[in-house]
Symmetry: C2
Subunit: 310 residues, 2 copies
Protein backbone atom coordinates (compact mmCIF):
# COMPACT_ATOMS: atom_id res chain seq x y z
CA UNK A 1 0.00 0.00 0.00
CA UNK A 2 1.16 3.55 -0.67
CA UNK A 3 2.38 5.47 2.39
CA UNK A 4 -0.41 6.71 4.62
CA UNK A 5 -3.23 6.71 2.06
CA UNK A 6 -5.73 4.03 1.11
CA UNK A 7 -4.11 0.81 -0.21
CA UNK A 8 -4.11 0.79 -4.00
CA UNK A 9 -6.63 -1.57 -5.58
CA UNK A 10 -4.88 -4.26 -7.63
CA UNK A 11 -5.40 -4.09 -11.39
CA UNK A 12 -8.47 -5.58 -13.05
CA UNK A 13 -8.47 -5.74 -16.84
CA UNK A 14 -11.51 -6.55 -18.95
CA UNK A 15 -10.91 -7.51 -22.58
CA UNK A 16 -13.54 -8.23 -25.14
CA UNK A 17 -11.71 -10.36 -27.71
CA UNK A 18 -14.35 -9.27 -30.23
CA UNK A 19 -13.04 -5.72 -30.03
CA UNK A 20 -9.49 -6.73 -31.02
CA UNK A 21 -9.69 -6.41 -34.80
CA UNK A 22 -7.50 -8.45 -37.17
CA UNK A 23 -7.88 -6.88 -40.60
CA UNK A 24 -6.13 -6.37 -43.94
CA UNK A 25 -5.51 -2.77 -42.85
CA UNK A 26 -3.75 -3.13 -39.49
CA UNK A 27 -2.20 0.32 -39.77
CA UNK A 28 -5.54 2.02 -40.42
CA UNK A 29 -7.08 0.11 -37.52
CA UNK A 30 -4.07 0.59 -35.23
CA UNK A 31 -3.66 -3.11 -34.59
CA UNK A 32 -0.99 -4.41 -32.19
CA UNK A 33 1.80 -6.56 -33.59
CA UNK A 34 3.83 -8.99 -31.51
CA UNK A 35 7.17 -9.56 -33.26
CA UNK A 36 8.83 -12.76 -31.99
CA UNK A 37 12.42 -13.83 -32.57
CA UNK A 38 14.25 -16.89 -31.25
CA UNK A 39 17.87 -15.71 -31.20
CA UNK A 40 21.05 -17.79 -30.92
CA UNK A 41 23.27 -15.11 -32.48
CA UNK A 42 22.92 -11.36 -32.80
CA UNK A 43 23.33 -9.77 -36.24
CA UNK A 44 23.51 -5.98 -36.49
CA UNK A 45 21.80 -6.10 -39.89
CA UNK A 46 18.78 -7.80 -38.31
CA UNK A 47 18.42 -4.93 -35.85
CA UNK A 48 19.00 -2.26 -38.48
CA UNK A 49 16.32 -3.88 -40.64
CA UNK A 50 13.87 -3.92 -37.67
CA UNK A 51 14.43 -0.21 -37.12
CA UNK A 52 13.55 0.45 -40.77
CA UNK A 53 10.13 -1.25 -40.54
CA UNK A 54 7.59 1.43 -41.48
CA UNK A 55 4.77 0.02 -39.35
CA UNK A 56 4.37 2.40 -36.33
CA UNK A 57 6.83 1.13 -33.74
CA UNK A 58 4.55 2.21 -30.89
CA UNK A 59 2.22 -0.61 -32.03
CA UNK A 60 4.98 -3.24 -32.07
CA UNK A 61 5.99 -5.32 -29.03
CA UNK A 62 9.23 -7.27 -29.44
CA UNK A 63 9.80 -10.65 -27.82
CA UNK A 64 13.09 -12.57 -27.81
CA UNK A 65 14.20 -15.92 -26.46
CA UNK A 66 17.92 -16.72 -26.22
CA UNK A 67 19.66 -19.92 -25.11
CA UNK A 68 21.84 -19.98 -21.99
CA UNK A 69 24.99 -20.84 -23.94
CA UNK A 70 28.16 -18.78 -24.33
CA UNK A 71 26.90 -17.63 -27.74
CA UNK A 72 23.47 -16.90 -26.26
CA UNK A 73 25.02 -14.79 -23.50
CA UNK A 74 27.06 -12.82 -26.03
CA UNK A 75 23.96 -12.28 -28.20
CA UNK A 76 21.98 -11.09 -25.14
CA UNK A 77 24.63 -8.51 -24.32
CA UNK A 78 24.68 -7.15 -27.88
CA UNK A 79 20.89 -7.17 -28.10
CA UNK A 80 20.57 -5.24 -24.84
CA UNK A 81 23.12 -2.69 -26.04
CA UNK A 82 21.10 -2.01 -29.19
CA UNK A 83 17.82 -1.94 -27.26
CA UNK A 84 19.17 0.63 -24.81
CA UNK A 85 20.32 2.78 -27.73
CA UNK A 86 16.97 2.60 -29.52
CA UNK A 87 14.62 2.85 -26.57
CA UNK A 88 16.49 5.41 -24.50
CA UNK A 89 18.57 7.67 -26.68
CA UNK A 90 17.34 7.05 -30.22
CA UNK A 91 14.67 9.08 -32.04
CA UNK A 92 11.22 8.66 -30.47
CA UNK A 93 9.68 7.23 -33.66
CA UNK A 94 12.16 4.31 -33.55
CA UNK A 95 11.06 3.15 -30.11
CA UNK A 96 9.00 0.00 -29.79
CA UNK A 97 5.93 -0.29 -27.56
CA UNK A 98 7.64 -2.73 -25.21
CA UNK A 99 10.32 -5.41 -25.28
CA UNK A 100 10.48 -8.77 -23.52
CA UNK A 101 13.69 -10.82 -23.37
CA UNK A 102 13.48 -14.42 -22.20
CA UNK A 103 16.42 -16.64 -21.37
CA UNK A 104 15.68 -20.27 -22.08
CA UNK A 105 15.71 -22.64 -19.11
CA UNK A 106 16.71 -25.74 -21.06
CA UNK A 107 19.99 -26.50 -22.81
CA UNK A 108 20.06 -26.47 -26.60
CA UNK A 109 20.79 -30.00 -27.86
CA UNK A 110 23.61 -28.92 -30.19
CA UNK A 111 26.63 -27.09 -28.90
CA UNK A 112 27.60 -25.70 -32.30
CA UNK A 113 25.53 -23.19 -34.27
CA UNK A 114 27.49 -23.75 -37.49
CA UNK A 115 25.36 -24.16 -40.57
CA UNK A 116 26.91 -27.50 -41.60
CA UNK A 117 26.41 -29.03 -38.13
CA UNK A 118 22.88 -27.59 -37.79
CA UNK A 119 21.73 -29.04 -41.09
CA UNK A 120 22.98 -32.65 -40.66
CA UNK A 121 19.92 -34.90 -41.04
CA UNK A 122 20.62 -36.99 -37.90
CA UNK A 123 20.69 -33.77 -35.84
CA UNK A 124 17.38 -32.48 -37.18
CA UNK A 125 14.76 -34.11 -34.96
CA UNK A 126 16.32 -33.18 -31.64
CA UNK A 127 17.25 -29.72 -32.94
CA UNK A 128 13.82 -28.96 -34.37
CA UNK A 129 12.16 -30.21 -31.15
CA UNK A 130 14.31 -27.81 -29.10
CA UNK A 131 13.49 -24.95 -31.50
CA UNK A 132 9.77 -25.79 -31.20
CA UNK A 133 9.96 -25.60 -27.40
CA UNK A 134 11.81 -22.29 -27.58
CA UNK A 135 9.13 -20.88 -29.91
CA UNK A 136 6.32 -22.17 -27.66
CA UNK A 137 7.89 -20.69 -24.51
CA UNK A 138 8.21 -17.36 -26.26
CA UNK A 139 4.68 -17.46 -27.66
CA UNK A 140 2.87 -18.65 -24.53
CA UNK A 141 4.52 -16.05 -22.30
CA UNK A 142 4.25 -12.97 -24.55
CA UNK A 143 0.93 -13.22 -26.42
CA UNK A 144 -1.54 -10.84 -24.80
CA UNK A 145 -5.27 -10.21 -25.11
CA UNK A 146 -4.69 -7.07 -27.21
CA UNK A 147 -2.40 -8.68 -29.81
CA UNK A 148 -3.85 -8.80 -33.35
CA UNK A 149 -0.96 -10.30 -35.31
CA UNK A 150 2.18 -12.29 -34.50
CA UNK A 151 5.16 -11.79 -36.81
CA UNK A 152 7.75 -14.54 -36.48
CA UNK A 153 11.12 -13.26 -37.68
CA UNK A 154 14.35 -15.22 -37.30
CA UNK A 155 17.41 -13.42 -35.96
CA UNK A 156 19.31 -14.10 -39.18
CA UNK A 157 16.72 -12.57 -41.49
CA UNK A 158 18.63 -9.42 -42.27
CA UNK A 159 16.77 -7.78 -45.12
CA UNK A 160 13.03 -7.30 -45.74
CA UNK A 161 10.95 -4.59 -47.40
CA UNK A 162 10.26 -1.78 -44.87
CA UNK A 163 6.53 -2.34 -45.40
CA UNK A 164 6.79 -6.06 -44.53
CA UNK A 165 3.98 -6.06 -41.94
CA UNK A 166 1.53 -4.07 -44.07
CA UNK A 167 2.40 -6.11 -47.19
CA UNK A 168 1.82 -9.47 -45.51
CA UNK A 169 -1.30 -8.40 -43.58
CA UNK A 170 -3.09 -6.94 -46.59
CA UNK A 171 -3.70 -10.48 -47.89
CA UNK A 172 -5.82 -11.08 -44.77
CA UNK A 173 -4.69 -14.73 -44.48
CA UNK A 174 -4.56 -16.65 -41.17
CA UNK A 175 -0.90 -17.61 -41.80
CA UNK A 176 1.30 -16.14 -44.54
CA UNK A 177 4.98 -16.64 -45.40
CA UNK A 178 7.20 -14.61 -47.76
CA UNK A 179 9.89 -16.44 -49.73
CA UNK A 180 13.23 -16.56 -47.89
CA UNK A 181 16.30 -16.18 -50.11
CA UNK A 182 20.03 -15.74 -49.50
CA UNK A 183 22.52 -13.43 -51.20
CA UNK A 184 25.92 -14.92 -52.10
CA UNK A 185 28.95 -14.23 -54.24
CA UNK A 186 28.66 -16.28 -57.42
CA UNK A 187 32.27 -17.17 -58.26
CA UNK A 188 31.39 -18.27 -61.80
CA UNK A 189 29.54 -15.08 -62.65
CA UNK A 190 32.03 -13.12 -60.53
CA UNK A 191 29.12 -11.12 -59.13
CA UNK A 192 26.65 -11.06 -56.27
CA UNK A 193 23.72 -13.40 -56.80
CA UNK A 194 20.88 -14.92 -54.81
CA UNK A 195 19.46 -18.39 -54.16
CA UNK A 196 16.47 -19.88 -52.32
CA UNK A 197 17.19 -20.57 -48.62
CA UNK A 198 14.10 -21.77 -46.72
CA UNK A 199 12.72 -25.13 -47.92
CA UNK A 200 10.08 -25.48 -45.21
CA UNK A 201 7.42 -23.65 -47.24
CA UNK A 202 5.85 -26.38 -49.37
CA UNK A 203 2.81 -28.03 -50.84
CA UNK A 204 2.33 -31.69 -50.08
CA UNK A 205 3.01 -34.49 -52.61
CA UNK A 206 1.62 -38.03 -53.00
CA UNK A 207 5.18 -39.34 -52.43
CA UNK A 208 5.47 -37.56 -49.06
CA UNK A 209 2.05 -38.84 -48.03
CA UNK A 210 3.13 -42.41 -48.93
CA UNK A 211 6.47 -42.01 -47.10
CA UNK A 212 4.63 -40.82 -43.98
CA UNK A 213 2.30 -43.84 -44.04
CA UNK A 214 5.27 -46.22 -43.78
CA UNK A 215 6.89 -44.36 -40.86
CA UNK A 216 6.86 -45.23 -37.17
CA UNK A 217 4.62 -43.02 -35.00
CA UNK A 218 7.52 -40.85 -33.78
CA UNK A 219 9.32 -40.49 -37.13
CA UNK A 220 9.36 -37.18 -38.94
CA UNK A 221 9.62 -36.15 -42.59
CA UNK A 222 12.26 -33.56 -43.41
CA UNK A 223 12.58 -31.31 -46.42
CA UNK A 224 15.71 -30.47 -48.40
CA UNK A 225 17.59 -33.75 -47.84
CA UNK A 226 18.66 -35.87 -50.82
CA UNK A 227 18.25 -39.17 -48.88
CA UNK A 228 14.57 -38.36 -48.30
CA UNK A 229 13.13 -37.29 -51.65
CA UNK A 230 9.58 -36.07 -50.96
CA UNK A 231 8.79 -34.47 -54.35
CA UNK A 232 6.87 -31.79 -52.51
CA UNK A 233 6.32 -28.54 -54.42
CA UNK A 234 8.69 -26.10 -52.72
CA UNK A 235 7.77 -22.42 -52.65
CA UNK A 236 11.50 -21.68 -52.85
CA UNK A 237 11.36 -22.86 -56.48
CA UNK A 238 8.06 -21.20 -57.37
CA UNK A 239 9.68 -17.78 -57.46
CA UNK A 240 9.50 -16.05 -60.85
CA UNK A 241 11.66 -13.03 -61.59
CA UNK A 242 8.75 -11.44 -63.49
CA UNK A 243 6.05 -12.77 -61.16
CA UNK A 244 3.59 -10.58 -59.29
CA UNK A 245 4.71 -9.78 -55.76
CA UNK A 246 1.14 -10.21 -54.47
CA UNK A 247 0.67 -13.72 -55.94
CA UNK A 248 -0.37 -16.21 -53.22
CA UNK A 249 -0.16 -20.01 -53.10
CA UNK A 250 -1.71 -22.32 -50.50
CA UNK A 251 0.87 -24.15 -48.35
CA UNK A 252 0.85 -27.36 -46.29
CA UNK A 253 4.16 -26.71 -44.53
CA UNK A 254 5.69 -23.39 -43.49
CA UNK A 255 9.07 -22.17 -42.26
CA UNK A 256 9.59 -19.77 -39.41
CA UNK A 257 12.18 -17.43 -40.95
CA UNK A 258 9.43 -14.86 -41.58
CA UNK A 259 5.79 -15.71 -40.93
CA UNK A 260 2.77 -13.55 -40.16
CA UNK A 261 0.06 -15.26 -38.08
CA UNK A 262 -3.33 -13.94 -36.97
CA UNK A 263 -3.27 -14.00 -33.16
CA UNK A 264 -6.55 -15.96 -33.17
CA UNK A 265 -4.79 -18.89 -34.85
CA UNK A 266 -2.43 -19.15 -31.89
CA UNK A 267 -5.26 -18.42 -29.41
CA UNK A 268 -7.24 -21.37 -30.77
CA UNK A 269 -4.25 -23.47 -29.72
CA UNK A 270 -1.95 -23.63 -32.76
CA UNK A 271 1.61 -24.06 -31.45
CA UNK A 272 4.87 -25.59 -32.72
CA UNK A 273 4.73 -29.33 -32.02
CA UNK A 274 8.05 -30.47 -30.47
CA UNK A 275 6.97 -34.05 -31.29
CA UNK A 276 5.95 -35.82 -34.46
CA UNK A 277 2.55 -34.40 -35.47
CA UNK A 278 1.32 -36.13 -38.62
CA UNK A 279 5.06 -36.85 -39.10
CA UNK A 280 5.83 -33.14 -39.07
CA UNK A 281 7.61 -31.05 -36.44
CA UNK A 282 8.06 -27.41 -35.39
CA UNK A 283 6.98 -24.82 -38.01
CA UNK A 284 5.92 -27.52 -40.48
CA UNK A 285 3.84 -29.17 -37.74
CA UNK A 286 2.42 -25.73 -36.91
CA UNK A 287 1.08 -25.41 -40.47
CA UNK A 288 -0.63 -28.79 -40.14
CA UNK A 289 -2.08 -27.83 -36.76
CA UNK A 290 -3.39 -24.52 -38.15
CA UNK A 291 -5.09 -26.52 -40.92
CA UNK A 292 -6.62 -28.94 -38.38
CA UNK A 293 -8.08 -25.87 -36.67
CA UNK A 294 -9.57 -24.67 -39.97
CA UNK A 295 -6.95 -22.01 -40.80
CA UNK A 296 -5.29 -22.36 -44.24
CA UNK A 297 -1.65 -21.16 -44.57
CA UNK A 298 -0.48 -19.29 -47.66
CA UNK A 299 2.81 -18.23 -49.17
CA UNK A 300 4.06 -15.40 -51.38
CA UNK A 301 6.52 -16.97 -53.86
CA UNK A 302 7.54 -13.62 -55.35
CA UNK A 303 7.82 -11.60 -52.16
CA UNK A 304 11.36 -11.98 -50.88
CA UNK A 305 13.18 -11.60 -47.59
CA UNK A 306 16.87 -12.44 -47.13
CA UNK A 307 18.72 -14.77 -44.78
CA UNK A 308 22.24 -14.10 -43.56
CA UNK A 309 25.03 -15.93 -45.37
CA UNK A 310 27.56 -17.36 -42.90
Amino acid sequence: STGGGKPKAPPVAHYNLNNVTITSDPLGNRENILLLTPMARFYQQYWDNLLKLSYPHELITLGFILPKTKEGNAATTELQKQIAKTQKSGPEKDRFKSIIILRQDFDPPLQSQDEAERHKIQNQKVRRAAMAKARNSLLFTTLGPATSWVLWLDADVIETPASLIQDLARHNKPVIAPNCFQRFYNTEKKAMDERPYDFNNWQDSPTAVELAKKMGPDDILLEGYADMATYRALMAYMHKADGLRQETVPLDGVGGAALLVKADVHRDGAMFPPFSFYHLIETEGFAKMAKRLGWQPFGLPNYKVYHYNE
Copy 2:
Protein backbone atom coordinates in the same frame (compact mmCIF):
# COMPACT_ATOMS: atom_id res chain seq x y z
CA SER B 1 5.80 11.78 -24.18
CA THR B 2 5.06 13.44 -20.87
CA GLY B 3 4.43 17.20 -21.02
CA GLY B 4 7.61 19.22 -21.47
CA GLY B 5 10.07 16.70 -20.02
CA LYS B 6 12.07 13.94 -21.66
CA PRO B 7 9.90 11.30 -23.32
CA LYS B 8 9.53 8.22 -21.10
CA ALA B 9 11.48 5.18 -22.25
CA PRO B 10 9.15 2.29 -23.13
CA PRO B 11 9.40 -0.76 -20.85
CA VAL B 12 12.03 -3.44 -21.37
CA ALA B 13 11.67 -6.61 -19.31
CA HIS B 14 14.36 -9.27 -19.00
CA TYR B 15 13.30 -12.64 -17.63
CA ASN B 16 15.53 -15.57 -16.94
CA LEU B 17 13.17 -18.54 -17.04
CA ASN B 18 15.72 -20.41 -14.91
CA ASN B 19 15.04 -18.02 -12.04
CA VAL B 20 11.31 -18.79 -11.98
CA THR B 21 11.23 -21.72 -9.56
CA ILE B 22 8.55 -24.42 -9.65
CA THR B 23 8.89 -26.39 -6.43
CA SER B 24 6.97 -28.52 -3.93
CA ASP B 25 7.05 -25.52 -1.58
CA PRO B 26 5.54 -22.69 -3.67
CA LEU B 27 4.57 -20.74 -0.57
CA GLY B 28 8.08 -20.86 0.89
CA ASN B 29 9.52 -19.83 -2.46
CA ARG B 30 6.83 -17.22 -3.14
CA GLU B 31 5.88 -18.70 -6.48
CA ASN B 32 3.25 -17.05 -8.69
CA ILE B 33 0.04 -18.93 -9.38
CA LEU B 34 -2.19 -18.27 -12.38
CA LEU B 35 -5.71 -19.46 -11.54
CA LEU B 36 -7.76 -19.95 -14.72
CA THR B 37 -11.52 -20.43 -14.94
CA PRO B 38 -13.71 -20.77 -18.04
CA MET B 39 -17.07 -19.49 -16.80
CA ALA B 40 -20.52 -19.90 -18.35
CA ARG B 41 -22.39 -19.30 -15.08
CA PHE B 42 -21.45 -17.51 -11.89
CA TYR B 43 -21.86 -19.32 -8.57
CA GLN B 44 -21.45 -17.36 -5.35
CA GLN B 45 -20.08 -20.47 -3.61
CA TYR B 46 -17.24 -20.65 -6.18
CA TRP B 47 -16.21 -17.10 -5.32
CA ASP B 48 -16.57 -17.63 -1.56
CA ASN B 49 -14.38 -20.74 -1.88
CA LEU B 50 -11.74 -18.76 -3.84
CA LEU B 51 -11.61 -16.14 -1.10
CA LYS B 52 -10.95 -18.87 1.46
CA LEU B 53 -7.85 -20.20 -0.32
CA SER B 54 -5.00 -19.89 2.16
CA TYR B 55 -2.27 -19.41 -0.47
CA PRO B 56 -1.25 -15.70 -0.30
CA HIS B 57 -3.65 -13.92 -2.62
CA GLU B 58 -1.00 -11.37 -3.58
CA LEU B 59 0.73 -14.25 -5.42
CA ILE B 60 -2.41 -15.31 -7.30
CA THR B 61 -3.49 -13.84 -10.64
CA LEU B 62 -7.03 -14.73 -11.71
CA GLY B 63 -8.02 -15.23 -15.35
CA PHE B 64 -11.56 -15.75 -16.62
CA ILE B 65 -13.10 -16.35 -20.02
CA LEU B 66 -16.86 -16.01 -20.48
CA PRO B 67 -19.00 -16.59 -23.56
CA LYS B 68 -20.90 -13.74 -25.23
CA THR B 69 -24.30 -15.28 -24.53
CA LYS B 70 -27.12 -13.91 -22.37
CA GLU B 71 -25.98 -16.25 -19.57
CA GLY B 72 -22.36 -15.20 -20.11
CA ASN B 73 -23.30 -11.53 -19.88
CA ALA B 74 -25.18 -12.14 -16.63
CA ALA B 75 -22.23 -14.10 -15.21
CA THR B 76 -19.82 -11.29 -16.20
CA THR B 77 -21.94 -8.73 -14.35
CA GLU B 78 -22.05 -10.85 -11.18
CA LEU B 79 -18.35 -11.66 -11.40
CA GLN B 80 -17.44 -7.99 -11.75
CA LYS B 81 -19.63 -7.10 -8.77
CA GLN B 82 -17.79 -9.62 -6.57
CA ILE B 83 -14.39 -8.56 -7.92
CA ALA B 84 -15.10 -4.91 -7.12
CA LYS B 85 -16.11 -5.89 -3.58
CA THR B 86 -13.00 -7.99 -2.98
CA GLN B 87 -10.40 -5.84 -4.72
CA LYS B 88 -11.65 -2.42 -3.68
CA SER B 89 -13.51 -2.57 -0.39
CA GLY B 90 -12.70 -6.01 1.05
CA PRO B 91 -9.88 -6.77 3.51
CA GLU B 92 -6.43 -6.29 1.97
CA LYS B 93 -5.44 -9.93 2.52
CA ASP B 94 -8.35 -11.09 0.32
CA ARG B 95 -7.16 -9.11 -2.72
CA PHE B 96 -5.63 -10.97 -5.63
CA LYS B 97 -2.48 -9.83 -7.44
CA SER B 98 -4.36 -9.01 -10.63
CA ILE B 99 -7.44 -10.14 -12.52
CA ILE B 100 -8.01 -10.57 -16.25
CA ILE B 101 -11.48 -11.07 -17.72
CA LEU B 102 -11.77 -12.18 -21.34
CA ARG B 103 -14.97 -12.26 -23.36
CA GLN B 104 -14.89 -15.00 -25.97
CA ASP B 105 -15.08 -13.92 -29.61
CA PHE B 106 -16.75 -17.08 -30.89
CA ASP B 107 -20.25 -18.38 -30.21
CA PRO B 108 -20.60 -21.42 -27.98
CA PRO B 109 -22.02 -24.29 -30.04
CA LEU B 110 -24.82 -25.12 -27.58
CA GLN B 111 -27.38 -22.54 -26.57
CA SER B 112 -28.36 -24.37 -23.40
CA GLN B 113 -26.09 -24.91 -20.41
CA ASP B 114 -28.40 -27.51 -18.81
CA GLU B 115 -26.61 -30.58 -17.54
CA ALA B 116 -28.79 -33.04 -19.51
CA GLU B 117 -28.27 -31.16 -22.82
CA ARG B 118 -24.52 -30.65 -22.15
CA HIS B 119 -23.91 -34.34 -21.53
CA LYS B 120 -25.70 -35.81 -24.59
CA ILE B 121 -23.11 -37.89 -26.48
CA GLN B 122 -23.89 -36.38 -29.91
CA ASN B 123 -23.23 -32.90 -28.50
CA GLN B 124 -19.87 -33.80 -26.98
CA LYS B 125 -17.40 -33.36 -29.82
CA VAL B 126 -18.49 -29.88 -30.85
CA ARG B 127 -18.94 -28.84 -27.19
CA ARG B 128 -15.56 -30.16 -26.06
CA ALA B 129 -13.86 -28.52 -29.07
CA ALA B 130 -15.39 -25.16 -28.13
CA MET B 131 -14.32 -25.63 -24.49
CA ALA B 132 -10.78 -26.47 -25.67
CA LYS B 133 -10.61 -23.25 -27.70
CA ALA B 134 -11.90 -21.23 -24.74
CA ARG B 135 -9.23 -22.78 -22.49
CA ASN B 136 -6.50 -22.14 -25.09
CA SER B 137 -7.52 -18.50 -25.58
CA LEU B 138 -7.44 -17.99 -21.84
CA LEU B 139 -4.10 -19.77 -21.41
CA PHE B 140 -2.26 -18.19 -24.36
CA THR B 141 -3.26 -14.65 -23.38
CA THR B 142 -2.67 -14.79 -19.61
CA LEU B 143 0.40 -17.00 -19.01
CA GLY B 144 3.35 -14.76 -18.23
CA PRO B 145 7.10 -15.28 -17.87
CA ALA B 146 6.87 -15.12 -14.06
CA THR B 147 4.12 -17.76 -13.66
CA SER B 148 5.23 -20.93 -11.82
CA TRP B 149 1.97 -22.88 -11.66
CA VAL B 150 -1.36 -22.82 -13.48
CA LEU B 151 -4.40 -23.92 -11.47
CA TRP B 152 -7.39 -24.77 -13.66
CA LEU B 153 -10.59 -24.47 -11.63
CA ASP B 154 -14.06 -24.73 -13.16
CA ALA B 155 -16.65 -22.12 -12.21
CA ASP B 156 -18.91 -24.80 -10.75
CA VAL B 157 -16.29 -26.25 -8.38
CA ILE B 158 -17.72 -24.80 -5.21
CA GLU B 159 -15.85 -26.51 -2.38
CA THR B 160 -12.14 -27.34 -1.96
CA PRO B 161 -9.78 -27.51 1.01
CA ALA B 162 -8.44 -24.00 1.76
CA SER B 163 -4.91 -25.35 1.29
CA LEU B 164 -5.71 -26.70 -2.22
CA ILE B 165 -2.73 -25.06 -3.94
CA GLN B 166 -0.17 -26.08 -1.32
CA ASP B 167 -1.62 -29.61 -1.10
CA LEU B 168 -1.46 -30.23 -4.83
CA ALA B 169 1.94 -28.58 -5.37
CA ARG B 170 3.70 -30.50 -2.58
CA HIS B 171 3.59 -33.64 -4.76
CA ASN B 172 5.83 -31.79 -7.24
CA LYS B 173 4.13 -33.41 -10.28
CA PRO B 174 3.98 -31.79 -13.74
CA VAL B 175 0.17 -32.24 -13.84
CA ILE B 176 -1.99 -33.27 -10.86
CA ALA B 177 -5.76 -33.64 -10.45
CA PRO B 178 -7.79 -34.05 -7.24
CA ASN B 179 -10.93 -36.22 -7.34
CA CYS B 180 -14.07 -34.24 -8.22
CA PHE B 181 -17.21 -35.34 -6.35
CA GLN B 182 -20.74 -33.97 -6.03
CA ARG B 183 -22.95 -33.66 -2.94
CA PHE B 184 -26.62 -34.65 -3.33
CA TYR B 185 -29.65 -35.50 -1.26
CA ASN B 186 -29.98 -39.28 -1.10
CA THR B 187 -33.73 -39.88 -1.04
CA GLU B 188 -33.33 -43.52 0.05
CA LYS B 189 -31.08 -42.71 2.97
CA LYS B 190 -33.02 -39.47 3.58
CA ALA B 191 -29.72 -37.70 4.13
CA MET B 192 -27.03 -35.75 2.29
CA ASP B 193 -24.59 -37.98 0.46
CA GLU B 194 -21.89 -37.67 -2.20
CA ARG B 195 -21.02 -39.33 -5.51
CA PRO B 196 -18.18 -39.16 -8.06
CA TYR B 197 -18.68 -36.43 -10.71
CA ASP B 198 -15.68 -36.08 -13.04
CA PHE B 199 -14.99 -39.16 -15.19
CA ASN B 200 -12.22 -37.61 -17.28
CA ASN B 201 -9.46 -38.65 -14.86
CA TRP B 202 -8.58 -42.17 -15.99
CA GLN B 203 -5.95 -44.79 -16.74
CA ASP B 204 -6.05 -46.32 -20.19
CA SER B 205 -7.38 -49.83 -20.94
CA PRO B 206 -6.65 -52.37 -23.70
CA THR B 207 -10.31 -52.03 -24.77
CA ALA B 208 -10.02 -48.26 -25.23
CA VAL B 209 -6.78 -48.72 -27.19
CA GLU B 210 -8.52 -51.26 -29.48
CA LEU B 211 -11.57 -49.01 -29.92
CA ALA B 212 -9.30 -46.12 -30.92
CA LYS B 213 -7.53 -48.24 -33.54
CA LYS B 214 -10.81 -48.88 -35.36
CA MET B 215 -11.84 -45.21 -35.40
CA GLY B 216 -11.65 -42.71 -38.24
CA PRO B 217 -8.89 -40.06 -37.90
CA ASP B 218 -11.29 -37.38 -36.59
CA ASP B 219 -13.27 -39.60 -34.20
CA ILE B 220 -12.93 -39.20 -30.45
CA LEU B 221 -13.31 -41.54 -27.50
CA LEU B 222 -15.54 -40.31 -24.68
CA GLU B 223 -15.74 -41.43 -21.09
CA GLY B 224 -18.84 -42.05 -18.99
CA TYR B 225 -21.18 -43.12 -21.83
CA ALA B 226 -22.86 -46.55 -21.73
CA ASP B 227 -22.83 -46.93 -25.56
CA MET B 228 -19.03 -46.59 -25.56
CA ALA B 229 -17.71 -48.94 -22.87
CA THR B 230 -13.98 -48.29 -22.57
CA TYR B 231 -13.20 -50.27 -19.41
CA ARG B 232 -10.71 -47.59 -18.45
CA ALA B 233 -9.80 -47.41 -14.76
CA LEU B 234 -11.59 -44.26 -13.57
CA MET B 235 -10.05 -42.29 -10.70
CA ALA B 236 -13.62 -41.44 -9.65
CA TYR B 237 -13.99 -45.07 -8.52
CA MET B 238 -10.53 -45.38 -6.94
CA HIS B 239 -11.56 -43.28 -3.99
CA LYS B 240 -11.37 -45.10 -0.64
CA ALA B 241 -13.08 -43.64 2.44
CA ASP B 242 -10.14 -44.79 4.57
CA GLY B 243 -7.49 -44.08 1.90
CA LEU B 244 -4.54 -41.73 2.40
CA ARG B 245 -5.22 -38.24 1.10
CA GLN B 246 -1.69 -38.03 -0.32
CA GLU B 247 -1.93 -41.26 -2.35
CA THR B 248 -1.10 -40.62 -6.04
CA VAL B 249 -1.91 -42.62 -9.17
CA PRO B 250 -0.55 -42.06 -12.69
CA LEU B 251 -3.21 -40.93 -15.18
CA ASP B 252 -3.56 -41.06 -18.98
CA GLY B 253 -6.56 -38.72 -19.19
CA VAL B 254 -7.42 -35.76 -16.96
CA GLY B 255 -10.43 -33.54 -16.39
CA GLY B 256 -10.32 -29.77 -16.04
CA ALA B 257 -12.59 -29.29 -13.03
CA ALA B 258 -9.52 -28.82 -10.83
CA LEU B 259 -6.03 -29.36 -12.21
CA LEU B 260 -2.63 -28.03 -11.17
CA VAL B 261 -0.07 -27.74 -13.99
CA LYS B 262 3.57 -26.67 -13.85
CA ALA B 263 3.82 -23.60 -16.11
CA ASP B 264 6.72 -25.25 -17.97
CA VAL B 265 4.36 -27.97 -19.22
CA HIS B 266 2.26 -25.32 -20.95
CA ARG B 267 5.36 -23.38 -22.03
CA ASP B 268 6.69 -26.46 -23.81
CA GLY B 269 3.50 -26.29 -25.87
CA ALA B 270 0.96 -28.46 -24.03
CA MET B 271 -2.50 -27.05 -24.83
CA PHE B 272 -6.06 -28.38 -25.06
CA PRO B 273 -6.48 -29.95 -28.51
CA PRO B 274 -9.79 -28.78 -30.05
CA PHE B 275 -9.41 -31.64 -32.58
CA SER B 276 -8.96 -35.38 -32.27
CA PHE B 277 -5.47 -35.95 -30.83
CA TYR B 278 -4.82 -39.68 -30.52
CA HIS B 279 -8.66 -39.85 -30.50
CA LEU B 280 -8.79 -37.62 -27.43
CA ILE B 281 -9.98 -34.03 -27.10
CA GLU B 282 -9.72 -31.06 -24.69
CA THR B 283 -8.45 -31.90 -21.18
CA GLU B 284 -8.08 -35.61 -22.03
CA GLY B 285 -6.07 -34.65 -25.13
CA PHE B 286 -4.03 -32.29 -22.96
CA ALA B 287 -2.96 -35.22 -20.74
CA LYS B 288 -1.83 -37.12 -23.83
CA MET B 289 0.06 -34.08 -25.13
CA ALA B 290 1.78 -33.57 -21.76
CA LYS B 291 2.87 -37.21 -21.93
CA ARG B 292 4.19 -36.77 -25.49
CA LEU B 293 6.28 -33.90 -24.11
CA GLY B 294 7.65 -36.15 -21.35
CA TRP B 295 5.46 -34.89 -18.50
CA GLN B 296 3.48 -37.61 -16.64
CA PRO B 297 0.08 -36.60 -15.18
CA PHE B 298 -1.02 -37.87 -11.76
CA GLY B 299 -4.22 -37.95 -9.74
CA LEU B 300 -5.15 -37.95 -6.05
CA PRO B 301 -8.04 -40.43 -5.68
CA ASN B 302 -8.60 -39.58 -2.01
CA TYR B 303 -8.29 -35.82 -2.20
CA LYS B 304 -11.72 -34.42 -2.94
CA VAL B 305 -13.16 -31.22 -4.37
CA TYR B 306 -16.89 -30.73 -4.99
CA HIS B 307 -18.90 -29.81 -8.10
CA TYR B 308 -22.14 -27.88 -7.93
CA ASN B 309 -25.34 -29.92 -8.12
CA GLU B 310 -27.86 -28.28 -10.48
